[in-house]
C-alpha cells in the first residue's frame, strides 16, 4: 500500500539551530508524531521546553496534519 505523505514546516529556535536549520519543509508519513520528528532531528526530548503547532502548544504524541507549522524550542525563559 502506498503511504500518504504530508508536507509540514519545521522551525527550530535558540541552540537547536546549531548545525541544523532555522526553517525547513519536511515530508512526513501519516503516522509520524511530533516526538518522531524531534528524535529524527537528533534533539534530546529532555531538552525540549516548548512545542507549538500553528502557534498553539502541543505535545510529543501529536500527529501533525498537512500544512502544519511545528515550532520546537529548548527550555528558555526571561522576562
Amino acid at each position: 500500500m502506498e503511504e500518504t505523505m504530508k508536507r509540514i514546516t519545521v522551525k527550530l529556535f535558540a541552540y537547536f539551530r546549531d548545525n541544523r536549520f532555522k526553517l525547513e519543509e519536511r515530508e512526513i508519513s501519516e503516522e509520524t508524531t511530533v516526538g518522531d520528528i524531534v528524535d529524527a532531528l537528533g534533539i534530546d526530548r529532555q531538552e525540549v521546553g516548548v512545542l507549538m503547532v500553528n502557534s498553539r502548544h502541543t505535545e510529543f504524541v501529536y500527529r501533525p496534519a498537512a500544512g502544519d507549522v511545528l515550532a520546537i524550542f529548548p527550555v528558555v525563559g526571561g522576562g
Binding site: F13, G49, M52, H57, V75, G77, G78, G79
Partner: protein
C-alpha cells in the same frame, strides 16, 4: 554592623541615623519600602510634592555572598500611576548600601529654591552637598565625572535630564560593576528624586561588612542555592541569549504585541530576536554574558557593540527590544540599541517610553518603523524637554490623551509590556490586579502560560489564570524582599531544593527559623499593604481593568479578545 534607618530631610537639608523600629525589623527590599511608604506617606499626597518620600532599601540578603542577592528596591508614591510603587534593579548599590549599614534610606521633604544637591552615604551617615557641575547632564556623563571625582568603586544612583524635568517616564539609574547602568525603570521614580532636587547619590561603605549569625549554615545553604540556579536550563539559556530569547517564542505564540498592540506577530521578529542578537554580539566582539551585580551566577546581561566594534549598550533586555522593535515596527537592532542607550542616558524607562512612541506613531507623529526618527526625537525633544518631548516623556497615557488615541495600552496609566493579554490571558490578570499598574514582573504567568516552567496552563483559556497570577504575585512580593533577582524563580518553580535553601540563607543570616509558610505570608502581607495604600489614595476595583480596546478588538492570529468579567478579575483578592 547593625542596620539602621538613614533619613534625609531635603526641606532643611539635614540627616539622621535612627534605630530600626521593631515593626520593620523583619522586612527588606520591597517589603520594607512598601511598609515605610504605607506608614509615612499620605496616600492622597501629590507624588511630586513635599509629602511624598522616596525609600531605598537593599534586600534581606543583599551585601552577603549569597548568589544573585544584589537587587535594590526603590519605593514611593508613583507620579505615573498615583499608586504605591516599588521598582527593582541590579547594579552595585544594594550590596554597598547593605555594607554601609543602611537598612533603608528615606528621603523626605523638598527644598524651596532652585539649588540642586547630591547625597553621599557612608556608615557614618548621609551628607547633603550642593551640586552644579552635573545638572542637566545625561547619566553616562554623570557616571564618568563621578568615577573621576570619587574613584570607580563607589555605588551610584543617578537621574538624567528626564528626572530633573520630572517626567512621568523618568527612571532611576544604578551603576553596574563596569560603569554601565541598570534601571529602576517603572513608575516615574526618577521624577520623585528630581522633585527632591537630588541629582545623584554616592555610596561608600568604607570597610563595612554585613554580619552573618551562622556563617557555616549560610555557606552550606548558599552552595545548594547556587547549584539549583546554575543547574536550571533556563539559567543557562539566559546566559547564552539573554532575556531577548523570548522574541521568537512570544511571536510564535501569537502574543507579541505589534504595531501598537494591533497584531500578535511581527514580520521582522527574526531580525530583532535573541538568536540574531547573540550572533551579532559574537561577530562584533561584544560580550555574550555579563553580570549586573557581583555574585550573579546567571549573567543574563550582555554588551552589544556597534558595527565598528565599540560598545553601544548593555543590559539589552527583551522588553526594551520588543517595545522599540515589534511595538514600533522597528526591525533594525542597531536602531533599537541606539534608542536603548539614549533612553538610559536621558533617564527614561525603556518600556514606558517605547510604548509611548508606539502610540505616537499611531497618532502620526512619526511613521511606524522609523527607528532613526525615534532616536532623533529622543535627542532633540525628550532630552531637551520640548513640548512634544514632555508629552512622550510622560508616558503612553500622556501621548494618548494629547492626540485623542483610544488604543492606549496602559493599566493605571502605566504602559503594558511585551505580552498581549488577549493571547496570554494569565498576564492580563497580573496587569489588571497589580498594585502598581501594568507590570509583567509582578506575577510572571508567562512561565506557565508559554514557557512550561512551573507547570503548564493554556494561555488562551480563562480557567486557572486568576489563581496562577495570585500565587505568582504572592511569591514575587516575597522574593522582591530578599534582594534576590526574580530570575531565581525559574529554578524555584522547578527545583525542590531551591526555595528551602533560600529560606535557610535568610535564617542563617538573621538567626531565625522561618518556614515556607512565613514566606507566603510575607508575600500576602506586602500585597495587602500595597492595596490598602492604593485604596486610601482613591483607587477601587474599577481601576483593576484593562483598557476597553482589549475587550473590543480581536488580536490576530488567534483573533481573541480579553474576556474576563470584572467580577472574575476581582476574585484575585480572595486570599
Amino acid at each position: 554592623m547593625a542596620d539602621k534607618i538613614f533619613r534625609v530631610n531635603m526641606t532643611n537639608l539635614t540627616s539622621t541615623i535612627e534605630e530600626v523600629p521593631p515593626a520593620w525589623a523583619g522586612y527588606g527590599g520591597r517589603g520594607l519600602t512598601s511598609t515605610i511608604v504605607s506608614a509615612e506617606v499620605e496616600p492622597t499626597c501629590h507624588p511630586l510634592g513635599p509629602k511624598n518620600k522616596l525609600v531605598i532599601a537593599p534586600g534581606l540578603l543583599s551585601g552577603t555572598v549569597a548568589a544573585n542577592s544584589g537587587r535594590l528596591s526603590i519605593g514611593a508614591k508613583s507620579p505615573l500611576t498615583g499608586t504605591i510603587k516599588e521598582a527593582n534593579s541590579g547594579g552595585t548599590a544594594a550590596q554597598l548600601l547593605a555594607r554601609a549599614g543602611v537598612k533603608a534610606l528615606i528621603i523626605e521633604g523638598q527644598p524651596k529654591g532652585d539649588t540642586w544637591y547630591s547625597l553621599a552615604v557612608t556608615p557614618e551617615g548621609v551628607t547633603v552637598n550642593e551640586e552644579t557641575e552635573l545638572i542637566g547632564k545625561g547619566n553616562f556623563a554623570v557616571v564618568d565625572a563621578l568615577t573621576k571625582r570619587t574613584g570607580g568603586k563607589q555605588g551610584l544612583i543617578t537621574i538624567g535630564p528626564a528626572g530633573e524635568m520630572k517626567m512621568g517616564g523618568a527612571n532611576i539609574s544604578i551603576k553596574d560593576p563596569d560603569g554601565g547602568l541598570r534601571s529602576s525603570g517603572r513608575g516615574g521614580l526618577g521624577a520623585v528624586l528630581g522633585s527632591k532636587k537630588i541629582k545623584f547619590i554616592a555610596i561608600d561603605p568604607k570597610d563595612g561588612k554585613v554580619a552573618i549569625a551562622d556563617p557555616e549554615k549560610f555557606r552550606e545553604a548558599n552552595k545548594v542555592f547556587a547549584k539549583a540556579l546554575v543547574d536550571h536550563p533556563v539559567s543557562q539559556a539566559l546566559g547564552q541569549y539573554g532575556t531577548n530569547v523570548l522574541v521568537n517564542i512570544i511571536n510564535e505564540s501569537g502574543g507579541l504585541p505589534t504595531q501598537n498592540f494591533s497584531k500578535g506577530q511581527f514580520a521582522g521578529h527574526e531580525a530583532i530576536s535573541g538568536e540574531t542578537m547573540h550572533d551579532t554580539i559574537l561577530a562584533r566582539g561584544g560580550r555574550i554574558k555579563h553580570n549586573c551585580h557581583p555574585g550573579c551566577v546567571i549573567q543574563c546581561s550582555q554588551v552589544f557593540n556597534d558595527a565598528a566594534g565599540n560598545k553601544l549598550t548593555s543590559g539589552f533586555e527583551y522588553e526594551s527590544i520588543w517595545a522599540m522593535g515589534a511595538d514600533c515596527c522597528v526591525d533594525n537592532l542597531d536602531h533599537i540599541a541606539q534608542a536603548d542607550k539614549l533612553m538610559d542616558d536621558i533617564g527614561v524607562d525603556t518600556i514606558e517610553t517605547s510604548v509611548a512612541f508606539g502610540v505616537a506613531m499611531e497618532a502620526g507623529v512619526l511613521a511606524f518603523g522609523d527607528g532613526a526618527g525615534v532616536c532623533r526625537i529622543l535627542q532633540e525633544d525628550i532630552a531637551k524637554g520640548t513640548p512634544l518631548g514632555r508629552i512622550i516623556g510622560n508616558g503612553a497615557g500622556s501621548v494618548g490623551r494629547a492626540f485623542g488615541i483610544t488604543r492606549v495600552p496602559v493599566v493605571k496609566n502605566q504602559a503594558i509590556p511585551a505580552y498581549d493579554p488577549r493571547a496570554i490571558k494569565g498576564i492580563g490578570i497580573t496587569y489588571a490586579t497589580s498594585t502598581q499598574g501594568a507590570d509583567h514582573t509582578m506575577g510572571y504567568t508567562i512561565a506557565t502560560n508559554i514557557l512550561g516552567v512551573g507547570g503548564k496552563l493554556d494561555p488562551l483559556t480563562k480557567e486557572g489564570q486568576v489563581e496562577l497570577s495570585r500565587n505568582l504575585q504572592i511569591a514575587t512580593a516575597a522574593i522582591d524582599s530578599t534582594g534576590m533577582c526574580l530570575f531565581i524563580a525559574f529554578a524555584a518553580l522547578d527545583n525542590a531544593t531551591c526555595l528551602p535553601a533560600l529560606i535557610d540563607l535568610i535564617n542563617a543570616k538573621y538567626g531565625l527559623s522561618l518556614t515556607g509558610d512565613d514566606v507566603v505570608n510575607l508575600g500576602k502581607y506586602i500585597l495587602r499593604t500595597e492595596r490598602a495604600f492604593n485604596t486610601a489614595a482613591g483607587f477601587t476595583s474599577a481601576d483593576d481593568r484593562l483598557p476597553e480596546f482589549f475587550y473590543l478588538e480581536p488580536l490576530p492570529p488567534h483573533n481573541v479578545v480579553f474576556d474576563f468579567t470584572g467580577k472574575e478579575i476581582d476574585t484575585f483578592w480572595n486570599f
